[in-house]
């Protein structure tokens, strides 16, 4: 943890009561800027995302939330013409150092997308995909990883009798949790979610939120959401982005009750967005 954990440290207590708290997976952006070709999408972002906590990124459409999230696990690497300046620190080490292997980084920093994107394979094979490409494990270990990942994603009871059936037969909410389970199977330290519930009904959304609440005990969770209630309900810290800049960040309850920036205030009270 760096000293620069801004106001965030003011809150003082690690969220998620009781469970053992790890400090791995603390994230921070330092003077991070990003360009798509000529177009600058992010400007000098300085943001700490604490471990064992949920940080919500909010802001109007096109303000750079997804760009920032995808910078963290270097999903932009394969996009020609992009470049960045500044640093993204994972446990105090820049993820953009040349010796960092992006595929290894992506195993530590899992990502779940807005639209569930299960593979057209069985439920089992979906969850086993990550472990299989990263190591050749004996069968019983793989079984164990699949089961525990599905349990952590609160999906095990619903699918345990149909592991060999196609994942595409699941409901939207189940598929999204399967995507989370698939990510958890890599045992990541950080979980990035880009609007994971925007295509789900309220019940499925609530399930995902409960799940995140459980997961944050062991993980750093960063979630992009357009749903301000969701940010207010489910996150510990909220960061407000606007036109590629980080306007304000702080504990969620303070951000929603006493924002210090006028633009934050207008956004959360719905005056623009």
């Amino acid at each position: 943890m760096t000293a620069a954990t801004v106001e965030v440290t003011a809150r003082g207590q690690p969220s998620g009561s009781g469970a053992p708290v790890t400090n791995r997976g603390a994230l921070a952006a330092r003077q991070f800027s990003f360009w798509y070709g000529e177009k600058q999408a992010l400007f000098d972002i300085d943001l700490d995302m604490r471990s064992s906590a949920i940080t919500a990124l909010i802001g109007p459409s096109g303000c750079g939330k997804s760009t920032f999230l995808r910078s963290i696990n270097r999903m932009h690497d394969l996009l020609p013409g992009t470049r960045h300046e500044g640093q993204i620190l994972l446990d105090d080490a820049d993820v953009y150092r040349p010796e960092v292997d992006a595929t290894a980084l992506r195993r530590r920093v899992g990502m779940v997308f807005q639209r569930w994107n299960c593979f057209p394979k069985s439920i089992y094979d979906n969850v086993a995909y990550g472990p299989r490409i990263n190591a050749s494990l004996p069968r019983h270990e793989l079984d164990w990883i699949v089961e525990s990942s599905l349990r952590r994603a609160a999906l095990w009871d619903e699918v345990k009798d149909r592991l060999r059936q196609t994942a595409l037969g699941l409901s939207g909410g189940q598929q999204q949790r399967l995507c989370i389970a698939r990510t958890l199977a890599n045992d990541p330290e950080v979980l990035l979610l880009d609007e994971p519930a925007s295509a789900l009904d309220p019940i499925a959304t609530q399930k995902i939120e409960e799940l995140l609440y459980e997961l944050k005990r062991e993980l750093t969770v960063v979630i992009v959401t357009h749903n301000l209630q969701q940010a207010a309900r489910a996150s510990d810290y909220t960061a407000f982005f606007y036109m590629g800049r980080l306007i304000e960040v702080g504990p969620t309850d303070r951000m929603f009750t006493a924002p210090q920036e006028e633009r934050t205030n207008s956004y959360i009270t719905g005056r623009f967005g």
Binding site: L78, G110, Y129, I133, T166, T183
Partner: protein, 345 residues
Amino acid sequence: MTGAAVSSEQAGSPRERPTTPSGADALGPKRLGARIQGAVIGDRIYSAAITLFALCVPALLILVAVEIFLGGWPALRRFGFSFLTSSAWDPVNGVFGAAPAIYGTLVSSAIALAIATPLAIGVALFLSEFAPQWLRQPVAFLVDLLAAVPSVVYGLWGVFVLLPVLRITVMPFLRDTLHLGVLPFFSGPAYGPSMLAAGLILSIMVLPYISSVSREVLLAVPRSQREAALALGATKWETIWGAVLPYAKSGIIGGVILGLGRALGETMAVTMLIGNRPQISASLFAPGYTMASLIANEFAEASGDLHLSALMAVGFVLFVITLIVNAIARWLVWQVSRAGGEKTA
């Protein structure tokens, strides 16, 4: 004709709109009912017309099949099942067995697919995943152009370039240098015109079909599938192997089937290269015959009704084999897509 009537009917309904006093709320229930009625009738005429057109195509197919079958019937009745199993093709004595031609068609097509499929998928992968942007269009265009070259040009190229190379270099190399001659497939004298030559020329001819279908299918794999694999720590190659190809699998098989259909029926180039000898030999160096080249060679100078009927019967067999191959292939696509879960269980 019916189509024209329907379209004028459809064009008519928007035109009558302005005559109603003021937009939608002025459409009284009665008026609205009449319009819906009109639309229903229009729909009926339209669907009747397209159903008719759609039924014409299978009707034509059945008509052709029946014609060929009737033409071949005298020969089929005369020789019975041995028409399919006998190797005797002797127009002079009036004995006909199509086994060598059936064998040649199947084997040359199999060789063509065995060579073309991996190459075509490789080309498609290169063009859709690896090639730099500026190279993609030109190379794709050139590969597609292979399909536009007339069959007889392939035949000429085969006679003047491929056959000498096979006879002087490739065949001795396979047989003697690699000692593959111990296998029956690569034994015997190397004349040039052979099953191998026919299979090779066919593989070049079907390659563009397989590769352009595969390329389309690969490009259609959603970005979210690639991102899912990448985000799980897959390398580029693992992403292609584990996420992109499985997603595209049934489409690629569809492309292979298209190529197979092409290979089974190809006539001119094969006739020029296969040697046209009605014999069944395990060696790929030996000449052979295909059903299509048999018909093309002998139809014009068929000696007598039985000979003609035998050729029609060969045509019928080719027709049936093509149908069977397509049915199997369709079943395969269905199996693959079901296992992959493209249809929900």
